[in-house]
């Protein structure tokens, strides 16, 4: 049975939109403050009309924390990946275009970054910088650009010999201008797909680092530290772990499906098959 629409793309887009809307309109969606509305008398209350997702061990509203946590997690995911993509594209473009010793250098750097597992690298950076959003952005933004770089570089290598690039060069366009106006638009597709997947990875990495004790600073809510804090209470206070867990799941699933969907969409071959 064939589905009548692009299932992955649609579902992914829907999930991601849901999460983004939740993050943006958090103050409108819940009357509770995620940090200061802490009443220990109301701790660990089951979901109710007042507290849709219940309350956590500090008596804070889990729904509010999931919503505001979306801001933190999405910021970390998107900004960290934006840093990664920017570094990857800049290095990949210039290396592929100029070649020579610069290419060799970038290549060596890429291989180096690939060889050190990004979580290990991020862990080390977090240990140096200490917990916090900015540290996380640096730790996750500097450790995962090698793929975007590789893809960009190989795309540029095959593109730069093509007619229109040659034409631009004979027209006397500068190197930077050629890279930005002639090459960049042609590699945006695959890099976008990589970035979508990378956002999901960054959200997960934040959770993993929180588990290892190197996440963001409490009491600010992030899904990673909500999960980590409540993991021992999984049987008696399940709502404190299940909802942030679901939030991570939905978000990462959404970005993954979106990435897959965009890839299928950009590559029509994937759709038309015997």
């Amino acid at each position: 049975m064939r589905l009548p629409f692009r299932f992955n793309l649609t579902l992914g887009l829907a999930l991601v939109t849901l999460v983004i809307l939740g993050a943006v309109f958090a103050p409108l969606l819940t009357p509770h403050d995620p940090i200061l509305d802490a009443d220990l008398m109301n701790s660990e209350m089951a979901p109710s009309w007042d507290h849709w997702f219940g309350t956590d061990s500090q008596g804070r509203d889990v729904f509010a924390r999931v919503l505001y946590g979306a801001r933190v997690s999405l910021t970390i995911g998107i900004v960290a990946q934006a840093i990664n993509s920017t570094i990857g594209i800049a290095l990949g473009l210039s290396a592929g275009y100029w070649g020579g010793w610069w290419d060799d250098t970038v290549n060596g750097l890429t291989n180096l970054m690939l060889a050190i597992p990004s979580l290990v690298f991020a862990l080390a950076i977090m240990a140096v910088l200490g917990p916090g959003v900015v540290s996380l952005l640096i730790a996750l933004g500097l450790t995962n650009w090698s793929w975007s770089c590789r893809i960009t570089r190989s795309a540029v290598m095959s593109l730069k010999s093509q007619g229109y690039v040659q034409a631009a060069r004979t027209l006397g366009y500068g190197d930077i201008r050629i890279m930005l106006t002639q090459l960049l638009p042609n590699i945006v597709g695959p890099v976008l797909v990589m970035a979508t997947l990378g956002i999901g990875e960054a959200v997960l990495a934040e959770a993993a680092l929180s588990f290892l004790g190197l996440g963001i600073r409490p009491p600010a809510p992030s899904w990673g530290n909500m999960l980590t804090d409540a993991r021992e209470a999984i049987r008696s206070v399940p709502w404190a772990t299940i909802f942030p867990g679901l939030a991570v799941f939905v978000t990462v699933l959404g970005f993954n499906l979106l990435g897959d969907g965009v890839r299928d969409w950009l590559d029509p071959r994937m759709q038309v098959r015997a």
């Binding site: 992955n8 959770a207 290892l212 004790g213 098959r273």
Partner: protein
């Protein structure tokens, strides 16, 4: 081929040295010190003399460039130094952990291969169908859960509720103990493999030579056996290699959660107590593993694809 491998192995040396330098640099600015952790968490006070003794014993009183030089000199003699914490050679500590680590990584990979690749095939047979979507969403969900969360869920369901498997620990390294952490670790590479396989199958199925094979009158099963599998493998091998290569490093959360005595948990512990030689040693081993696997992948690549020659 022997020469090729030798040359590739030699080429690793600069990368390893660069990694070593990078790690050294990062950990030289790391706040906190090993001596500081010797208070046993507020249990006892350390005299400044003792702190000085400890630092002197590990050469931490020397200036940074001297320490780096000493480190390099030892490194080229395959000496990873001595652990601050256990005062044993780091090589010994790593040796004790490497087999459990490999066991976990390889079984996670085995799981990923045996489930992920068939799933990818299944999805690719009917692209755009409900089956495809369900299969891929299942696979992608493996990429969408924090590892420790997945591990905890597995623990609760299979160890506690069903009582089928032990919840933690290495035991004697039996299969029973291995299953849950392997699933928790293998789910993400499984998903990646399923995805790569699907894309690979679709790409191969769309290629001209498959049309030729159909024009020849081959049945779908003959076509898959003779013309798809091998070609898809070329595309899958890279993903597999990258995954195997990076699993040692990805395992740290799972190893901590399941009390699995691998390199990852050794590294995390050592970072926590600032046992820097061990941290450096484990990272180097993890990187070395990645590089060796990469060479292996290239060799396998050449074996599958006649167009590639090892030069």
């Amino acid at each position: 081929m022997g020469r090729y491998i030798l040359r590739r192995l030699l080429q690793m040396i600069p990368t390893l040295l660069a990694v070593a330098a990078l790690i050294f640099l990062i950990f030289s600015v790391l706040p906190g010190s090993f001596a500081g952790t010797m208070t046993g968490g507020g249990r006892r006070a350390l005299s400044p003399e003792l702190v000085a003794q400890i630092n002197a014993q590990f050469g931490l009183d020397k200036p940074l460039p001297v320490r780096f030089w000493d480190y390099l000199v030892r490194l080229v003699q395959f000496d990873l130094g001595t652990s601050f914490r256990t005062r044993e050679p780091v090589v010994d500590l790593i040796a004790a952990r490497i087999w459990p680590s490999l066991q976990l990584a390889l079984s996670a990979m085995a799981l990923a291969v045996t489930v992920g690749i068939p799933l990818g095939f299944l999805a690719a047979m009917r692209p755009g169908s409900l089956l495809d979507s369900i299969t891929m969403i299942f696979a992608v969900s493996g990429l969408s859960m924090p590892q420790f969360w997945l591990g905890l869920l597995l623990m609760y369901v299979f160890a506690l509720q069903l009582g089928w498997l032990p919840s933690f620990g290495y035991g004697g390294g039996q299969l029973r103990n291995l299953i849950l952490p392997a699933i928790a670790l293998g789910f993400a590479p499984l998903a990646l493999l399923a995805r790569t396989t699907r894309a690979g199958v679709l790409e191969v199925m769309g290629s001209d030579h498959i049309r030729t094979a159909m024009a020849k009158g081959a049945s779908p099963s003959q076509m898959i056996r003779w013309h798809v599998l091998r070609n898809v493998m070329v595309l899958i091998v890279t993903t597999m290699g990258l995954q195997i290569g990076s699993l040692l490093g990805q395992a740290l959360v799972i190893e901590k959660l399941f009390s699995w005595p691998g390199l990852g948990s050794l590294m995390v512990d050592s970072v926590a107590i600032r046992d820097i030689p061990v941290v450096q040693g484990t990272i180097l081993v993890i990187v070395l593993w990645f590089l060796v696997i990469n060479v292996l992948v290239d060799v396998i690549y050449a074996a599958i694809d006649p167009r590639i020659s090892l030069r």
